[in-house]
Symmetry: C2
Subunit: 398 residues, 2 copies
Amino acid sequence: MPKISDRGLKMPSSPIRKLVPFADAAKKRGTKIYHLNIGQPDIKTPAAALKAVSESELDIIAYSPSEGYEWYRDKIAEYYGRIGVGIDASDIIVTSGASEAIQFVMNSCFDAGDEIIVPEPFYANYNGFSKTGNVIVKPITASIDDGFGLPPMSDFEKEITSKTKAILICNPSNPTGYLYSKEELEVLKEIVLKHDLFLMVDEVYREFVYDEREHTSVLSLEGLEEHAIVFDSVSKRYSACGARIGMIISRNREMITTALKFAQARLSPPTLGQIMGAAMVDVPQTFIEESITEYDKRRKVCIERLQKMDGVVCPRPGGAFYLFVKLPVDDTEKFCKWLLEDFNFNGETVMLAPGAGFYSTSGLGRQEARIAYVLNTGALHKAMDCLEAALKSYPGKI
Amino acid sequence: MPKISDRGLKMPSSPIRKLVPFADAAKKRGTKIYHLNIGQPDIKTPAAALKAVSESELDIIAYSPSEGYEWYRDKIAEYYGRIGVGIDASDIIVTSGASEAIQFVMNSCFDAGDEIIVPEPFYANYNGFSKTGNVIVKPITASIDDGFGLPPMSDFEKEITSKTKAILICNPSNPTGYLYSKEELEVLKEIVLKHDLFLMVDEVYREFVYDEREHTSVLSLEGLEEHAIVFDSVSKRYSACGARIGMIISRNREMITTALKFAQARLSPPTLGQIMGAAMVDVPQTFIEESITEYDKRRKVCIERLQKMDGVVCPRPGGAFYLFVKLPVDDTEKFCKWLLEDFNFNGETVMLAPGAGFYSTSGLGRQEARIAYVLNTGALHKAMDCLEAALKSYPGKI
């Protein structure tokens, strides 16, 4: 039998997917599960976006240009203009989700063995994309004690070598919800200019900010035109994860030209998704405002409930729809599995994402877990009831 | 300014896209171009597939499972049952086009420096995907003299080393249209079993066969269960290239499990495309039969016209919708550019894909070009008029 590759063997499994068989078994036993483990919003996709597809008069679903339709890239530029970022269609490549955007940029900016610095905990799939591209992740550990804020500049300086090509952050962060301030971005700017690095920012949660705070796009920082690369997506903003429409945005012409070669090899991003995406730009801002109001309610319910639980540490992050919490348990992988296998509270349980999978440094995050507040407040209260009861009866409680 | 990677610099540009600026300039001058350069069918997507999307009652365009919806994979298995191949949903991973399928399989089966043997001329993007994954393409040259049939077994044996992991063919072939016979597949079977290699077959043009011939899927060969991997797609079969729905099919459980890890990292294939894809399986076979009848008419027009042109060599391939021809010119890259820049016949011209881009061996294919017969017979006659006139007046004629 022919052998699969070492690359394949070493590719990490998704930390969230590992629990899926246990969740399936629990469902078969009739247990109701509150899914706080994945970032799949329950908000309805804007009706106008769905209508744009059903009313489209396309009779051939043809390839689009590899960089995306120009009319769609013009609409994206219009959206960016509204958030105060001046770009045009030529600064944009439309991709199959932000996932593909990250891969094209990794291929364009890194050779095998090159290094990328990422504050951890970070979005687990950055690991997978790095492994695929033979890129080495150099983590810098952020601390729950300051809510996972930007580690000090000296921590970055320590990790920079001749192989370092970029710093990557997610702002606001998946998995911590942390919203990096303009001042923190200025610190990163100083580092990348000093060492001539790319500054890659995953801004897919850009619109989801709370407590009257404001999001600063890295694209709005002056002097970073050649260094800044943004990953964006319609998935979370418009609750359309399955549209598979993401994008690379950068004013670095050489990088865009290079990424386009990878884009051409795979021919085109989805045509129907681009029709939806263009319609989304015309969706009134009230759609997003209502989403934010709803997520903020949920955020407050979760934070309030979690902060009342004995031994739980729950920071109050400024963005996204995630909380990254510390639980009084031996190991959240075991705990999350136990929640599905051995626990129920009135026939219900809750599914969380264990924290270790979001760290690159082995041994970290064992007491932490990510909570995605993607259910309505009624369901969240019940999920918190489950968690509260579980923490009281879990045998590995510490 | 931060530097892009060597990987990015070395990534080949699409041989077809290079001509696009010249085509754009010709259009601006008012020249009408017959596009025989890309495999974008002009056949209408089945109305039932478009209707399935517009009548879908989804109100959240959510992620699908990373391997694709089970109901869609069941429909794919139903389609395969109809062509005599017994597989089930667990043998299938749905991807964003066959392009993504090829990349997941390359990552799963090859480490950096491993080798893949591919008869040339081959689909140009195999080069790009190989470069991306640091896989070395070992070409085996097929000859126009026997219509680009399978090179002798000894040619393969000569290229096999300890680094060889797979043989890849496209059947029927893009770019040559060559339909590999069952006997030729049996030869490949013997080689891969002897050397324990994967046999990867891109079967996206499977349905397009002519002259009463039959296509043999590699999945129907006994004894190859662990070795055979098929790339498939709805793009050409149902004229839905922009749906971005491809798939990996294999009974090799370890390979599927490994490829799934790469699929999980990118979350999911397009949701709307899967709705279209499932509806396509129920489209009456008459849709495909009518497509084949139409393509066959076009094929005959092109072959008849080309074989009458002085100095042109045009084999009569059994499948796909491509012809790979030899032209009496110095260099088809120059000729194709000249067709766009310096030539017109009553205000019209034709765009072809130069042959060299489909070869991995440098220097080959300079007199060859790929013709995609994706226009109606009236347009094809006019395109052939242009080509005939051009070959008479081209200064580099030999």
